[in-house]
């Protein structure tokens, strides 16, 4: 037996992928490809997989984006989280954006010139969305950055995208966006973003026992919260996979409140 053959007998990946990974692979391929298939809209996650101490999940979304776990290994402290978001100072935003871009750029997840379209502060944490509509791509980060701090002390990141352009929901409608759920020893953190049609000025999001006001600007919304976005996040992906537990209340420019609004998608 040759040396190379002897080495191959020591292959640490012998027998891989096992049945579980094969199934996950089939699901993964479908999730990635069908992310752009608006006809198969479902409020079940198309992908969910355990990654280290984190469960990250991407959801099939009306806009066709699919969100994948980024490399944020450190779950920032969430004790300071507030249900109502505040503004981010220019100085803090520059630091948070730099930290976010470093995480996302390391994976070629987004283009370098993808602009920040939303940023919000909740306690010591800054959430921000980098977004490009054509072709649609998005990077999302939660950055641990107390106001005025000189550097970020933790980042959660995720990204998604599709080959086509973003869809725009009709006036008064919300189009659910990408979802990410991270889990570590001290609990889950979820983040979502999406699009709103003309005339939608407020989005209140309910997930489990959490209610939070999303930040809305320029037809996009973003929110994140300490809690789950999915029920049974450990389930395999697919039509029987994890179910999204989020509901939305919309406030329209004329003062109307639409409770438990359905997410719009083409052909609905």
């Amino acid at each position: 037996m040759t040396l190379d053959s002897q080495l191959r007998s020591l292959d640490a990946a012998a027998g891989q992928p096992d049945a579980r990974r094969r199934a996950r692979g089939a699901s993964l391929a479908d999730g990635i490809v069908h992310a752009g298939d608006h006809r198969s809209r479902s409020r079940r996650a198309t992908m969910a997989w355990r990654v280290g101490g984190i469960v990250a999940a991407g959801s099939l979304v009306a806009a066709g984006a699919i969100l994948l776990p980024g490399l944020g290994r450190t779950l920032p402290a969430v004790a300071s989280w507030t249900a109502e978001a505040g503004p981010v100072s220019d100085g803090d935003l520059a630091i948070a954006e730099d930290a976010c871009r470093q995480h996302l750029a390391s994976e070629d997840a987004i283009d370098a010139d993808t602009p920040v379209v939303l940023a919000e502060r909740r306690g010591d944490l800054v959430g921000l969305i980098l977004y490009e509509a054509s072709p649609e791509s998005q990077g999302s980060c939660i950055v641990e950055l107390p106001a005025g701090a000189s550097s970020a002390s933790g980042v959660l990141s995720a990204f998604g995208g599709q080959s086509g352009d973003a869809l725009v929901p009709p006036p008064g409608e919300l189009m659910e966006g990408a979802l990410a759920q991270f889990r570590a020893a001290d609990g889950e953190v979820s983040l979502t973003s999406g699009a709103v049609g003309e005339g939608v000025v407020g989005v209140e999001l309910h997930a489990g026992g959490i209610t939070t006001e999303a930040t809305v600007a320029d037809g996009r919304f973003v929110a994140w919260w300490p809690g789950a976005a999915f029920e049974d996040a450990d389930l395999p992906s697919g039509q029987d996979g994890p179910r999204v537990v989020i509901t939305y209340d919309l406030t329209l420019s004329d003062g109307t409140v639409v409770t438990d609004a359905d997410s719009w998608f083409p052909g609905r």
């Binding site: 191959r8 391929a29 070629d108």
Partner: protein
């Protein structure tokens, strides 16, 4: 992009996925713990979809392209105070007696495993691409982002280092070296 074009593109991507997924899983699992490997492959396959326009045409080149994405993802996963430039490659932790093995065969493999672990991460990486992924020099160089000639030099040095490590073992049983696949050029 029209619906028809999108479907063609999706079908082409599925074909790439079928062609490379199993190899990508094995590539990652040789270099990372299972959970990290799963994450890296998931991310890499999504990046491959996003960058599908950059995908090479031939299967070998596509494998190398995806391996390169997985590698980059794994390296980034391990970002810490020191940015790593190479991935260590794991070999089996336990050398077991297989059917028709004798005790000496187990000892040889145990020595080989120990010698492997004595190599540096860059040495393990260049060797693994030839031995485990069975890539030719051109494809392996693509994975590492270096020139094929540079890869050949590093591979030769890594083989010598492995031979030297084996020679230092108490039982210097060194089977004949297998020829590596050579690229056409």
């Amino acid at each position: 992009m029209s619906m028809g074009q999108s479907e063609v593109r999706a079908d082409e991507y599925r074909a790439l996925f079928r062609d490379v997924y199993d190899d990508a899983v094995r590539f990652a699992m040789r270099r990372a713990e299972p959970d990290d490997a799963d994450e890296a492959v998931a991310i890499a396959m999504a990046v491959a979809w996003r960058r599908f326009g950059d995908a090479p045409r031939s299967l070998d080149a596509r494998r190398a392209w995806v391996f390169g994405i997985v590698r980059k993802t794994l390296l980034n996963q391990r970002r810490g105070t020191v940015r790593r430039a190479a991935l260590a490659v794991r070999v089996a932790e336990h050398v077991e007696l297989a059917h028709r093995d004798d005790v000496s065969a187990v000892e040889i493999r145990a020595d080989l495993a120990a010698a492997w672990r004595s190599l540096s991460a860059p040495q393990q990486e260049v060797l693994a691409l030839a031995v485990f992924e069975q890539l030719d020099a051109g494809a392996a160089a693509r994975v590492l982002g270096i020139l094929p000639g540079t890869y050949r030099v590093r591979l030769s040095r890594a083989r010598k280092a492995l031979q030297a490590a084996l020679a230092d073992r108490p039982r210097p049983v060194v089977p004949a070296r297998a020829p590596i696949r050579q690229e056409a050029s």
